[in-house]
Amino acid sequence: MVNISLILELTKRDFSDRFAGSILGSIWAFIWPLVSLFIYIVIFGKIMGGKLPGTSEFYAYSVYLTVGLLPWTAFSNSIYRSTSVFIDTKNLISKIKLSLPALLIYIILSETITYVISMGLFFIFLFISGHPFSSRLILLPYLFYLQQLFAFGIGLLAATLTVFIRDLKEAIGIMLQLWFWFTPIVYIQDILPEFLKKVMIYNPAHVIISSYRSIFVFNDSPPYGALIILTIITHCIILIAYLLFRSLEKDVRDLL
């Protein structure tokens, strides 16, 4: 059964355990994103002088970089940490009868908290720097919801298979590294060769990140058609992952 209070408790513990025993405690949850934003905005934007072609805005590249990196970090961490969630919580699984797919939710929630804090700080920067806000910003939660659903689907597939093939966690880590550099996150799409530009429309991470950029950087409509197709693909992946999990659930519990 889905135990909501248990998931919330696991989320709380996952978040507080990271800073357990430290003097500053949960303040570190704000320091980490603040330092990341400092790197993206000051180091890449100001000191290294990163510029975005076609825009005259001083912080355009910093904004471009940050709206790519913050969602990617939440997305990749959600997938990578989900991969070993059944193995990491095997003591809990053997003691309490609970729905295993629901265990992935606490990781997604924990990464969401980090993302919300980072985005909150980023919005403060945008506000101070006088960056124009688009009314399309109301799409932001839906974009994030879609990306985390996609991460959930991939994560559930990976978590189920990792119980049988332990090497999968390392393989997923490598795959995420390749995926990161294959997606225009730190660079612009224009520098890619023609054949890669054509392939890029099949990259789900690119669809999501280019949607964030349409809203934040280019003040334009996100690719709605691609987002609808991605929504359908995401739910198909979740469905396949759940069917696979259901067919292997007994073996998963036995092996754990």
Binding site: Y145, T231, Y242
Partner: protein, 54 residues
């Protein structure tokens, strides 16, 4: 403003439908149903936006 209102109504409709289905159905079909509802809901949100904000 209109887009916002339509999205809120769309969300309320799916939250109620999802909640009632989840509570009333006991078997595993409710999970598949929830995935289906969620796909319709999210695709609908992007579709509403594309029509109202284009």
């Amino acid at each position: 403003m209109i887009a916002m209102l339509v999205i809120v109504l769309w969300t309320v409709l799916f939250v109620i439908t999802g909640y009632v289905s989840w509570k009333k159905i006991v078997s595993h079909i409710k999970v598949y149903l929830l995935i289906f509802y969620n796909a319709i809901y999210l695709a609908g949100v992007f579709l509403i936006f594309s029509f109202l904000k284009a």
